[in-house]
C-alpha cells in the first residue's frame, strides 16, 4: 500500500493518506472478498440446514467436482470450443453490424428499412434462436455462430448509428473547408467518435451473446460448456451441473473484469474524464 499524499485543497476530506485510486482498489478487493465469503457462507447454511445436501450440495463438494473437471482437461477443451464459436459469431456480427449501422446513421431510407428489425431483435426470446438454429443447421458449429451473430448484430448496428449521429458536424465542415480528404476525415473524425459507441455495443451484446451461445449449445452441439451442462442435467447430476455453471461464471467474470475492462481502458486512454 503506497502512501501517496493527496494534493492539497481537498477540503475537509483531504485527510486520506492513500490516493483515490488505491483506496478504491482496496475497497473493491475487500468488497469482493466479503461478498464471496458471505455468498459461500449463505450457501453452506442453505445446503446444511434449509435444503437437503443432495438437493443443494455444499460448496466444497462442488469445488471438488470443478477441480476434477479442470484436471481432466475437459474444462480447457470445452471452453475453447465455446470461445471459438463466440469469436466467430462476434466477427460475423461486426462484419454485418458496421455496414448496417453506417447505413442507418447516414441514410433515412436505410434507417427506416432496418428500424423494425433492430428494435425487435432484442426482445426475441433466446430459445427461438437456439431451436431454429438446430432445425436449420442440425448439430454443427454453424448454429451457435449464427445465433451469436444475430443476437449481437443489432446492438452493434444501433450503437454505430448512434455514434455517427453524434459526430461533430462542425468538425466535418471544418475538415472540408481546410481541404481534408474523405479518408482523413473518416480516420480522424468519424472513427474516434464512433469507436466508443461501437465498443459499448460490443460490451452490451457480449453479455447476451454468452447466454444465447449456452442455449444453442444445450440444444444443438456436441461440445462446449452448454453441451456439458445439458449432459450433466440428463445424468440428473446436481453437483455436475452446478460445477459447470460455476466454472462458467468464474470464466465469464475473468473475461469481463480482465479482458474487456483492460481493453476498454486501453482504447479510451485518451478520454481523461473517465479516469478515476
Amino acid at each position: 500500500m503506497a502512501a501517496t499524499p493527496t494534493t492539497a485543497g481537498h477540503g475537509p476530506r483531504g485527510t486520506a493518506h492513500l490516493s483515490l485510486a488505491a483506496r478504491r482498489r482496496v475497497r473493491g478487493v475487500t468488497g469482493l472478498i466479503i461478498g464471496a465469503g458471505g455468498f459461500l457462507l449463505l450457501w453452506t447454511v442453505l445446503s446444511r440446514f434449509v435444503f437437503d445436501e443432495f438437493v443443494l450440495p455444499p460448496p466444497l463438494e462442488i469445488g471438488q467436482v470443478m477441480w476434477e473437471i479442470v484436471e481432466s482437461g475437459a474444462f480447457a477443451t470445452n471452453f475453447w470450443a465455446t470461445i471459438e464459436r463466440l469469436l466467430y459469431g462476434f466477427g460475423l456480427a461486426l462484419a454485418i453490424g458496421f455496414p448496417v449501422g453506417y447505413l442507418m446513421g447516414t441514410s433515412r431510407w436505410w434507417r427506416a428499412f432496418f428500424h423494425d428489425m433492430v428494435m425487435v431483435a432484442g426482445s426475441i426470446p433466446g430459445i427461438t434462436y437456439a431451436v431454429l438454429a438446430l432445425v436449420l443447421f442440425g448439430i454443427s458449429i454453424l448454429g451457435p455462430v449464427v445465433s451469436v451473430a444475430l443476437v449481437s448484430m443489432p446492438y452493434i448496428a444501433i450503437n454505430v448509428a448512434e455514434g455517427l449521429d453524434s459526430v461533430d458536424r462542425k468538425l466535418v465542415t471544418m475538415s472540408d473547408a481546410f481541404g481534408r480528404r474523405r479518408p482523413a476525415v473518416v480516420r480522424h473524425v468519424l472513427v474516434p467518435t464512433i469507436a466508443p459507441f461501437a465498443f459499448a455495443g460490443v460490451r452490451l451484446s457480449f453479455a447476451l451473446a454468452w447466454k444465447v451461445e449456452q442455449l444453442t449449445e444445450v440444444f444443438g452441439s456436441s461440445s462446449g460448456v452448454g453441451f456439458q451442462i445439458r449432459r450433466e442435467f440428463e445424468d440428473f447430476s446436481i453437483p455436475g451441473t452446478l460445477a459447470w455453471v460455476f466454472l462458467f461464471i468464474l470464466f465469464m467474470l475473468l473475461v469481463e473484469r480482465f479482458v474487456l475492462v483492460r481493453l476498454e481502458r486501453y482504447l479510451f486512454r485518451w478520454r481523461i474524464e473517465d479516469q478515476p
Binding site: 468488497g31 428494435m119 431454429l132 443489432p154 452490451l204 451441473t241 469481463e256
Partner: protein, 297 residues
C-alpha cells in the same frame, strides 16, 4: 439527421408519374414494407436451403389452424387458447414476484454500502446467468409442474429489476444529495421529491426487461419441465418432427412478446423517462431503449 455524408439527394429530374414513383420508392414507408418483404424472402430461402425448415406460407396455414382450433388432420386439434391460458398465469405470477423481490433487493443494495459490498457481485452473476441453468436446476429440484416454471421465471428476471433500481438510486446527482443534506431537507421530502422520481423510470425499464427475459425463461422452463403451456406445445410439435407446427409457435412467441413490448412496455418506459430523455435525438432514444436492460450486465 443525416450527417455530411448524406446519400439521399432531393431528386428533381424526371416529371409526373415517374417522379411520384421515385418519391414513393424513397419514402420511409416503402423502406419499412421492403424490410418485411426482405425478411420473408430470407425465410423462404432458408426453407429452400433446408428441407426440414418450413416455408412461410405453410407455416401461416398451420398457425391459422392452431389458433382457430381447427383440425390438423385426425383427432389432433389446434390448442392455442388452452396453452396460453395455462402459461399466462405462471408468467404473470413469475413477473409479479420478480418485481417485488427485484425492487426490494435493489433498494437494499442501492441504499447501503455494506449491502452493496456483500451482494453486488452476486447480483451481477445472477444477471449473467442464462435462464437455461435455472430451468435445469428447478427441474431437478422441483420436478415437473408449475413450481419449476414460476421459479425459473422470477429467478431469471428479478436481477434485471434490481440492477436497474440500483442504477436509479445511484444516478441521483451527488450535488442534489449534498444540497438536501446542507439545507436539512427531511427524509420524507427527500424520498418524495428526489428518490422516488429518480427510480420510477428505472423500475419501468427494469420491469420491461424482466418481462422480456421472463418470457424466454417461461418458454424454456415449459420446454423442459411441464406438460402443458406454450413452451411445451412447441416442444410437442418439435418432438413429433412437425417443424411446421414448431415454427408456427415460434412466430407466436415472437409476436406475443414484440406486441407486448412495442405496444405497452416501451410506451410506459418512454413516459417514465420523459423528464430525462426529452433532449435526446430519436436514434439516441432508440439506442437507449434497446440497450437499457443489459446495461447493468
Amino acid at each position: 439527421m443525416s450527417i455530411a455524408i448524406d446519400r439521399t439527394r432531393a431528386g428533381s429530374s424526371g416529371g409526373g408519374g415517374a417522379d411520384s414513383v421515385r418519391r414513393f420508392l424513397r419514402s420511409q414507408r416503402f423502406a419499412r414494407a421492403a424490410s418485411y418483404v426482405f425478411l420473408l424472402i430470407l425465410w423462404w430461402l432458408a426453407s429452400m436451403y433446408e428441407d426440414r425448415f418450413p416455408a412461410p406460407l405453410e407455416t401461416f396455414q398451420f398457425l391459422w389452424i392452431e389458433v382457430t382450433g381447427g383440425s390438423h388432420g385426425g383427432i389432433v386439434r389446434g390448442e392455442f387458447i388452452e396453452h396460453f391460458a395455462s402459461t399466462l398465469p405462471r408468467f404473470g405470477l413469475g413477473i409479479a414476484i420478480s418485481l417485488v423481490l427485484g425492487i426490494a433487493v435493489g433498494v437494499l443494495i442501492g441504499g447501503s454500502k455494506l449491502a452493496e459490498a456483500l451482494f453486488k457481485d452476486t447480483l451481477l452473476v445472477l444477471v449473467a446467468l442464462p435462464a437455461i441453468i435455472w430451468a435445469f436446476l428447478t427441474q431437478m429440484w422441483f420436478g415437473l409442474g408449475d413450481d419449476a416454471v414460476v421459479i425459473t421465471t422470477f429467478l431469471s428476471a428479478f436481477p434485471f429489476v434490481s440492477v436497474n433500481v440500483v442504477q436509479g438510486i445511484q444516478a441521483i446527482p451527488r450535488e442534489l444529495r449534498r444540497m438536501s443534506g446542507a439545507f436539512h431537507v427531511s427524509r420524507m421530502r427527500r424520498l418524495r421529491h428526489m428518490q422516488i422520481p429518480a427510480i420510477t423510470g428505472y423500475i419501468f425499464a427494469g420491469f420491461r426487461f424482466a418481462v422480456i427475459i421472463g418470457w424466454n425463461a417461461v418458454l424454456l422452463a415449459e420446454w423442459f419441465s411441464s406438460s402443458e403451456g406454450v413452451g411445451w406445445r412447441s416442444r410437442y410439435w418439435y418432438d413429433a418432427n412437425r417443424y411446421r407446427g414448431f415454427v408456427a409457435w415460434v412466430v407466436l412467441f415472437i409476436g406475443f412478446i414484440v406486441a407486448l413490448d412495442r405496444l405497452v412496455l416501451v410506451r410506459l418506459q418512454r413516459r417514465a423517462f420523459r423528464w430525462r430523455d426529452a433532449q435526446l435525438s430519436t436514434i439516441e432514444r432508440e439506442a437507449e431503449e434497446i440497450d437499457v436492460g443489459v446495461k447493468g450486465a
